[in-house]
Symmetry: C2
Subunit: 406 residues, 2 copies
């Protein structure tokens, strides 16, 4: 077991950097706050005498050598950036826990056969620069380095400029190396662990996603003298689809979700019939067939709504990410660790995307989930008790050591 008091203390310490008044974090990727937390993280690694690498996309690695010079290392980590008003656990818990593991190994003079590397991925959140999971996406070659360098925030600052500005444009190539496995601890961000009353989650994979955007173009017109039968109201068509998307998951699977998160109305005036509406929609499910079926039903809703309301429609694909199944041996390592430590656990798919989904393309991977109270995240209300943080951190530590070998 890792040292509980220092672990909690370190969680509190990181939470001071970019702290919001509401008890959360405002630590957007490549901001001054991100620079501060990176500097803090580098100090912690230096204090452990780890060798540090910063790659050309700002991903930060710390390496603790193993006893076998030929053995591939075990990689473990998560991200230190946050949502604009996010919580203090999302990401940071998955960096602090392995840091505490490395400190404990050092304190106890324990050597592992394989090296252990700890990582802080650049821009997991995708709030300031899109897409989310950008650093791990570039590193696994799922995303193109040059394209991602040119992504800009809403003020026009590019990722490359901001990496340079904060001093984290490293020179190590951002590309996969040989690893034995990758482990990541993250808060669940959903309600299942709490509902089942378990201590930790053993993550078997990540749901597949489809994200689309639809634009309906009708006729902007005066809301007074234009009769109902003469209207092509883009917002009515959108509303029709939104209620449809609310219903689609119900007939597909109990893990299927469908959401319209973003909607923009033009001209958006109290007495003008909406002429153009753009909205995004997304579905997720552990089964890619269900995601595809949900998408097909949404397209049918879009066509039917457009026809009913007499508006033009256009659909743009924003993302398709296939469902990921983690490696059995890594899942088993996490499960066995939870069992050995006497934690109640359940196996589940992650409903959120994680750096681990990219990593699973290049090495065997699994994740540990910590209980999220009320399933809340991406909000200052995000909460995980220290007991639950600690149970998940210990499970992760044991799984890593199990695979790294003694």
């Amino acid at each position: 077991s890792i040292e509980r008091e220092r672990f909690v203390e370190t969680m509190r310490e990181q939470a001071e950097i970019g702290a919001t008044e509401g008890g959360g974090l405002h630590r957007l990727a490549l901001s001054d706050e991100d620079k501060a937390i990176r500097d803090w993280f580098a100090e912690q690694l230096a204090a452990l005498d780890l060798s540090i690498r910063i790659d050309e996309f700002g991903n930060m690695f710390g390496r603790r050598d193993g006893t076998d010079p030929d053995a591939d290392p075990v990689l473990v980590g998560s991200h230190l950036d946050s949502q604009p008003y996010g919580g203090i656990y999302d990401g940071a818990l998955g960096v602090v826990a392995p840091l505490e593991l490395l400190r404990t190994l050092e304190d106890e003079g324990i050597e592992t056969r394989r090296p252990i590397e700890i990582v802080n991925w650049t821009n997991e959140e995708g709030s300031r620069f899109q897409p989310a999971m950008q650093g791990s996406g570039v590193w696994t070659n799922e995303l193109d380095l040059e394209t991602q360098y040119e992504r800009t925030d809403e003020d026009g600052n590019s990722v490359r400029e901001e990496l340079e500005r904060i001093g984290y444009l490293g020179d190590v190539p951002a590309e996969p190396r040989d690893y034995e496995a990758y482990f990541e601890l993250h808060i669940e961000q959903g309600p299942y662990l709490e509902l089942e009353g378990v201590d930790v989650g053993v993550v078997t994979g990540v749901v597949g996603f489809y994200w689309g955007a639809t634009t309906f173009t009708g006729e902007a017109d005066h809301s007074g003298p234009t009769p109902m039968h003469d209207r092509s109201d883009a917002l009515v068509a959108a509303a029709d689809v939104i209620t449809g998307i609310r219903r689609i998951p119900g007939s597909l699977g109990d893990r299927t979700v469908g959401t319209v998160g973003y909607l923009d109305v033009d001209p958006n005036s109290i007495n003008i019939i909406p002429g153009e509406v753009t909205f995004t929609w997304g579905f997720r499910d552990p089964s890619d067939e269900i995601v595809d079926e949900a998408k097909a039903r949404a397209l049918a809703e879009i066509e039917a709504a457009a026809e009913r309301e007499g508006v033009e429609w256009e659909v743009e694909k924003r993302m398709r990410s296939a469902s990921v199944d983690f490696a059995d041996r890594c899942i088993d390592a996490v499960q066995t660790s939870a069992d050995d430590l006497g934690y109640d656990s359940m196996q589940l798919y992650s409903g959120a995307g994680h750096d681990a989904a990219h990593l699973s393309k290049v090495t065997d991977t699994s994740m540990v989930f910590a209980v999220s109270e009320n399933g809340k995240s991406h909000s200052e209300e995000e909460f995980t008790s220290w007991d639950d943080c600690y149970a998940a951190a210990n499970t992760l530590a044991n799984a890593v050591v199990r695979v790294a070998g003694l």
Copy 2:
């Protein structure tokens, strides 16, 4: 009949001030363009030797004396301000037509018994400063002068400052005087005249309005791991109401309209369940009972949707304007003029608000409508043929002279 060529020429002339590339107007109330059109209008009045009054709210009056010094004048006019990208007819046609009447009377040396006054009301459109029909509202004491002075545009400039800046803060009190009648010519902004194939509209009143705003507050949460049955999605609740509002008018009356024109989502992010949505809604009908019934049904939809989705709701009243019936003698004056001139006409309610609705509170009033092609307005696509402009202008001129007496 008024002089057609000069009338069309004058319509074209005014359309150059604040002209947009798309063939419309950008002549927001109290802007530099509004100053320019006011200066132009004042010149036209001066050229006719009319006595000019600017009141303390910038409403501009020009008076042509009658032969009977004790007779109350007939007032006629509309507005010269425009929507941000409005058409060249909305408002301006109702000022140029009586201007041309006064020129024709002058040319022909015709004297009327009653004085005729022409008016340009300040800020009819309500785009830059709310509410719409502000100048006539203040003048009729339907709106409070000091409150309206303090209204600001989105840059924080107040009405009073802007009136002063453009030199149209007059010293005549903005309050009703004794008038025999008020007439206003406006484009219909709806499709009825064109559908019936008539030349002009005889306006019998203005529909009643109810405008409300609703805020639904649910729970912003991550769109991935949050199960459908655990959601309180403010946008789904709003969508439910929007489709309801689309259906409500159908069972009430053939002139009933219901519209959701404005909608704002928070946090408005592709992977966050909408936590708060605010939207406006409005109903109009010639019958106030129908407006009230539509409002009651909308409230029932709001409550039901909130309950279904588990969100909190709040309704704010934005405006209630009772249906207006114009005076029979003024309606008759317009009808008889159209008939005498050999124009096909139909009687109808206005679906849009007009300065005439305020004026009807203080003097007998009616309006003439010109055909709107495709019912389009508040758009650069707004169009009325010169034939239709001319028919409406002549109808107005004859109604005014009829009441002013020879």
